[in-house]
Amino acid sequence: MDFLKLLDGFTERRTRTVAQNASRRGFLAGVSKLLVAGAFALPVLPFDRTNAHAAGGHGAAKKKAEPTDTDCDYWRYCSVDGFLCSCCGGTMTTCPPGSTPSAVSWVGTCHNPADGRDYLISYNDCCGKTACGRCFCNTNIRERPGYRMGVHNDINWCMANQSSHYHCTVSIVVGLEEGQS
């Protein structure tokens, strides 16, 4: 597929750039920066992580002491950007019925207060339906302009899907951050 071919070239270039960092630690830090991008996520209303106003205001669970998976300040949403799939008929890790996971995604690094570890979180968009419109949540930590595309979030990460319509975003644990155990 033409698309994959382009991506292959893209990946190679990225990897070379990143590999300029000398240490494995530095290398990984670079990668996680590169991949902490905008799971679609128009950076429309930049909210503090502690400000769950958007999520709370529209279909989310009530604000509690302990944030839940429909609150913007839940730990693994530390770099999410868009509508939380948990409010849209999906969960933190599943797309709502009838939508399609994005072919491309980005990764953030979030601190889990329950076990004190930092995890790599993959933010996949769910695509193929029009915008869910519920629980908008946005942060921009380590976001950069499109010349660092892997960490850019002013763009639709459903862009590579057959239907590029953005519906919502999931947040998936894909590993521990380097140096954690």
Binding site: P97, G98, V107, D115, L120, T130, G175
Partner: protein
């Protein structure tokens, strides 16, 4: 939930470089396991699944149906319904029907009207059927898009503004007929056979009987059964066996029997006593009534200080009537609802929808009608609810 086995690009990149999820050291809990992305799938409906049709007036081109677990107060998913769609759900909840309009360039180009069939469990599109580009671009009511009792045909209300009914064969998945219904509106499907009635501007019913191919084989006009000038009825029907209940702007109940050779009409009765009339209580809203079949309870969305033009006002109270005795049995506070729907079965609930808040209050259909839960933010201009 189905696991998506195929690894996605970019996702693979950090994975291979992340520290493997090693066993935890002594005294420390194990790290969270690696997860895979999945896709939700709904269980079959349990009798309290709500389908809430949202016109999205400010962005009408992006209408949708919100699917909600009414008992748990949980949002389950969305079906895109497009521009001015008519919607309904098959009785078994397996299919969600959407009659809608598309343009190749969002708002311009050649108009295409279609009936879509969405799967009730996967919320994926199962089929699309071309229909004449005459579909009413209207608020979706119960009687605007109606399957035949055996599920073979789907009837679609048209307006150009001349009125007609499109017949779709759901088995063959094709358009089969357009039946003119001049001056008449709404589709009241009969419990037996391929027959529907429609309410006409002169106060009569027009009844059309179809042949096996879905073509009109007979048309019959009833006597006048209501006076549209003096006591117009809402076209939203309540169904109890083969009886249909309609309420009027001035609070009268018209029972129409859709069985046998031709419709039968009972004498109307009033929802109001003298005191109610003095305070000008009237029905109001969009989906102005609902009926709990097992108990024979008719719920009506009511407001006081009624006047000309208030017939769509949100309700102040929901009044419950026993349809056999024709007596009011309860007055229930309302959340400023414009639409009502009752679930049947083992856990019957009364749902009332406030359009401004997108708020649905669920109450048990039981003594005192205790409130079970409230969900808000269900759409922007949600007007119509169905439950399966």
């Amino acid at each position: 939930m189905e696991k998506i086995k195929k690894r996605r690009w970019l996702l693979a990149l950090p994975l291979c470089m992340a520290t493997s999820l090693a066993v935890a050291g002594p005294g420390k809990p194990a790290p969270l396991p690696e997860e895979e992305i999945g896709l939700e799938r709904l269980a079959p409906p349990d009798g309290n699944r709500l389908y809430v049709t949202d016109f999205v007036f400010n962005h009408m081109v992006d209408g949708r149906i919100h699917v909600v677990d009414g008992k748990a107060g949980r949002f389950l998913g969305q079906v895109v319904s497009g521009y001015g769609a008519l919607t309904t759900v098959s009785p078994d909840g397996k299919s969600i029907y959407v009659a809608t309009t598309y343009y190749p360039r969002l708002y311009r180009g050649q108009r295409s009207d279609v009936v879509e069939i969405h799967d009730g469990e996967t919320l994926e599109l199962k089929g699309e059927i071309d229909i004449p580009a005459k579909k009413a671009q209207a608020a979706s009511y119960r009687s605007m898009l109606v399957p035949s009792s055996d599920g073979r045909f789907l009837y679609v209300q048209n307006a150009t503004p001349a009125t007609s009914v499109t017949v779709v064969d759901l088995q063959a998945r094709k358009f089969v007929a357009e039946i003119p219904t001049p001056g008449c509106w709404s589709i009241q499907s009969w419990g037996q056979g391929h027959r529907f009635s429609t309410i006409c501007g002169d106060g009569t019913l027009l009844t059309v009987t179809l042949d096996e191919a879905g073509q009109a084989k007979s048309r019959e006009r009833s006597p006048r059964f209501f006076d549209p000038d003096k006591d117009p009825i809402y076209v939203h029907p309540e169904m109890l066996g083969e009886d249909r209940y309609f309420v009027s702007y001035y609070g009268n109940v018209y029972k129409v029997g859709l069985s046998g050779d031709k419709p039968s009409f009972a004498a109307p009765w009033s929802l109001l006593d003298a005191g109610d009339r003095k305070q000008a209580w009237r029905p109001g809203g969009m989906q102005v009534t609902t009926l709990h079949r097992a108990s024979g309870t008719l719920f009506v969305n009511m407001h006081d200080k009624g006047e000309e033009g208030s017939h769509k006002n949100p309700s102040k109270e929901i009044w419950a009537y026993d349809v056999s005795s024709q007596k009011r049995v309860a007055r229930i506070p309302s959340n400023g609802a414009i639409s009502l729907v009752a679930s049947q079965g083992a856990d019957p609930l009364l749902y009332s929808l406030n359009v401004e808040k997108g708020e649905i209050v669920a109450r048990k259909i039981a003594k005192g009608y205790p409130k079970l839960n409230t969900v808000a933010g269900i759409g922007e201009t949600s007007l119509f609810m169905e439950v399966r």
